[in-house]
Structures are given as C-alpha cells and as structure tokens.
Amino acid sequence: MAEQVIPGWKKWLEGSGDQVIFLKGFFRNVFRGGFEWSEFVRQCYEIGYKSFMLVGTTAFIMGLVLALQLRPTLINFGALSMLPKTLAVSIVREIGPIITAIICAGKISSGIGAELGSMKVTEQIDAMEVSGANPVQYLVVTRILATTFMVPILTLLGDVLGLIGGFLAINITSNVSSLLYFHKCIASLDFTDFLPAFIKTIFFGFIIGFIGCYKGYNSNRGTESVGLAANSAVVTASLWIFVIDAIVVQISSLLFYK
C-alpha cells in the first residue's frame, strides 16, 4: 500500500497540537507534589554556571565592539559624551538579552534536545515511565524551570560584562575614568529600561527550555533523531526568541516609550 502523504499544513497543525499538550503536561506537573529540588539545582548549575564563561565572554566582546563602532559616528555628530548612555541603553534593552538568549538557545536548548533525545533512543525515558516514576516531572519540569530561572540571571551578568567591555573600548581610545563612565551609564538607565528587558528574558528562558525538552522528548527512535532534535531545538528556539522579542518590544513601546 502506498504511504499516505500528509500535507505540510496538517503536519504543522499536528505539531502545534502536540506542543500545546506538552505544555499542558508541564504545567500539570509543576503544581503536582514532589518537586525534584535536587535535580532542579543540578540543572541550574549545568545550565547557568557552565554557560557563564561563554555568555560573559560574548557579552564583553559585544560591548567592546559596540563602543568601538559607535564612537566614530557619535564624534561626527559631536555627541561623544552620549557614548556611555547609548551603550548602556542598547546593551540593557536589547543587545544583552538577545545575545544571551541566542547563545543559550545554541548551547542549552540543543544540549537539552540532544540529552533527552538520547535518553529516548536508549529507552531511558520509557524505563522511567514503565517503572511508575514520572519522567515529565523529573526531566522536563526541572529543565524548563532551570532555564526560566537562569537565563535572566545570565542576562544580568552579560549586561554588566558588556558595559565593562564598552568601558575598555572607551578607555583605549580616550581617557575616561571608570567612575565617570559607570555613573553616566547608570544615570542614563531607568526602571522602564530594566523591566521589559528583564521580563522578556524570563520568556526567553522558558522557550529555550521548553523547545529543547519538547524536541528531545518527542524525538523518534534512532541515533539520527538525536542530532535532528538538537538541531531543530536551536532553530526553533532562536526563531521564537525573535518573535517574543518583537512582541515584547511592541508592548513595552506602547506602555513605556510613547
């Protein structure tokens, strides 16, 4: 019998439906008793601490490069004194959160996708389920909550290191004291710069964990599917990060930056 060809839109709808069911399973298990604290802490360490060097280095370089790129343009406009303010606002509002989230999508989401995909292939998830344990609570809930908790913290650290990178760039080209630089940076930021950026990093963290877990948990049998799960997790999570970013920026523009 010839294999029935399923149209793309139907597959997309089925996939979306599966994601909604998976999401429902996550929320049902979050509020169920017996939260896996030790696994949550372990995941926070794996996800947060082990990503800090990568996020920190990237943010530092981004701050440095941004300062070097902005400087000539601001000189042309006679607005070099605006450099710390421009750097601080762009790093805190956009560059910090988005760079951190994209790096985390590449490192964490793919890692979770590959790990759970491999557990699926080697029947570890089935073994957990068949033993009467709850694999969603142990594997999925802890990972999604750990990314939701750790990505905002990584972003804050990334912001600070980005500003330090910017200071280094400014200090290479001109003689500005660190006190003056950081005073100008902090003075140029207010609550409306921090809050929307912080809120969107929570959503970024959630989507990074959710997509990684969904792709890994629902990967097919076979070693090839582990690679596919990891790859698909990065692509989908990155796409979602930009979609969430666009939505949050729209909402925060309407609320705060009229």
Binding site: G34, T122, E123, A127, E129, V130, S131, G132, N134
Partner: protein
C-alpha cells in the same frame, strides 16, 4: 515509611493464589499505520510461571509486552493483568499497575547521568517514596549483591560492560519487588557465556522473588534455561506452545527451525 506499608498491604490484598491467571490476553490486535503487527494473540500466564515468547525479529513480540505494561494501547481484544483491564485504566491506576510489573529493556536502559547506586535508588525514592536512607542503602546493597555487582555500586553506566549493564538493569527492576517481570530480549548482544549467566540469573531471581515472567527472546539457550512454557510467534500470531522438549520434537518446520 507510610507509603511502602500501604503498598505492601495493597499488594497483599490484590494478590492472587499460586496457579491463578495473572495475565490474560485474548484476541489482542495492534497495528501501526497499515502494518498489522499483532493480528490475534491470546495467552494466559499463571502466577509463578516463566513463559518464553520465541519468534523472529520484527514479529511483534516486544509490542505485545509493551501493551501489557500500558506503553502501547491495543486496537482490539482483551488484556487483563491481575484481573484489571489495562486499556481502561486511568493514569493513577496505570502507575499502581506498573509498580507491580518490572520491565527489563534490551539494553538495560540505565540512566547514564547517574551512578549505579543512584540508578537503584531512583525507583525507591520516586516510586515507593522511601525516605529512610538506611533502608534505601540496605535494599540497594542487597539487590546488587544478588546480581553479583556490589563492587560496581559507585560506577557510572558507561564504565560497565553489556552484561553488567543488564545485571544492574535487572537489579533496578527487582528492587521494587515486582510480581510480574517482563524481559525484552535479555541476552541480545551478549557473548554465549554472559548470555548463559544472565539466563541463570533470571531463573535464580525468579525463584528468589517468586515473580511471574514473560521472556521475549530468540536465544534458545536462554529459552531452555528459563522456560516453564514456550509460545512461538509468527506474523503477529502465537502459532504453537509447549515445553522446550515438546517444541523441540515438533514436526512443524517453522518451529523446528529454531532448534536447528
């Protein structure tokens, strides 16, 4: 300590006497897309019995035991375990049933991010909800000693050989003292000596823990050692059954081909 007591009490209440049928399968059907994997299988397994299901690869043997434990939902037929219809069970009932059934996967399915000790502690703390660390340690050591791997207690699964992984997998399954054991090709991928050791261990554990077992295999030595009764599966159906010696003398070419 409240939970395990409740569990034992429930187990005793639901326990059936020796010789009574604990797994009843009648006219079981299962298809994947257009492929009919289980056509019409029927089987009764009595308490304490070791039933070996023999058949070529890809004939649906594993699908049958996955239906027993509720991993797959059959398309038709009746499947009762301890007198309860499996497909009609809700999540809670299924969890209770799974505590009473042990499932040994082909590769052992050890959690590779945990040590052997943590693998064995996992069902005790997550399924039986044991809190007393002294009791947990005692049960872990007892069951590991039973499979002869007490020395490997702090090793990672990646440091174990194929045979050792299966032993640890068996220990992890037996630690919750299940009443039924389902073995999915327990000796596949092992050398003949280790295969024999695993088969003898299965028999030894069955006697020690007094479990009812279904063993899926195409290893005749494993079947000879472990089987009280054998059923032969072909193209999604059980075609014949009997003891090892009876089937060895079978006149049917397909059955004889397993023994040659």
């Amino acid at each position: 300590m409240e939970e395990p007591d409740k569990h034992t009490e429930q187990k005793n209440k639901l326990s059936t006497s020796k010789g009574e049928i604990v797994i009843h399968i009648k006219g079981l059907k299962k298809s994947f897309g257009s492929k009919e994997v289980l056509k019409n299988i029927s089987l009764d397994v009595k308490r304490g019995e070791n039933v070996v299901v023999l058949g070529k690869s890809g004939q649906g043997k594993s699908v049958a035991i996955q239906c027993i434990v509720g991993m797959l939902v059959p398309d038709g037929g009746t499947l009762t375990v301890f007198g309860e219809e499996v497909s009609g069970m809700n999540e809670k009932q299924l969890k209770q049933l799974r505590i009473r059934i042990g499932f040994l996967f082909q590769g052992g399915a050890l959690y590779d991010s945990m040590t052997v000790r943590e693998n064995l502690e996992f069902p005790l703390t997550r399924v039986l909800k044991l809190k007393d660390q002294v009791e947990i340690d005692q049960r872990v050591k007892e069951v590991l000693d039973g499979v002869g791997l007490l020395d490997a207690i702090d090793k990672m699964p990646s440091d174990l050989s194929g045979g050792m992984r299966k032993r640890v997998g068996l220990a992890r399954t037996l630690i919750v003292k299940p009443e039924i054991m389902l073995y999915d090709e327990p000796t596949t991928g092992l050398d003949p000596i280790t295969s024999r050791e695993i088969s003898e261990l299965i028999l030894q554990m069955q006697k020690k823990y007094k479990t009812t077992s279904i063993i899926i295999t195409h290893d005749m030595e494993c079947a000879r050692i472990t089987a009280d009764r054998m059923v032969i599966m072909n193209e999604g159906e059980f075609i014949t059954e009997g003891s090892f010696e009876e089937l060895k003398k079978s006149k049917e070419q397909f059955v004889r081909s397993f023994f040659n």
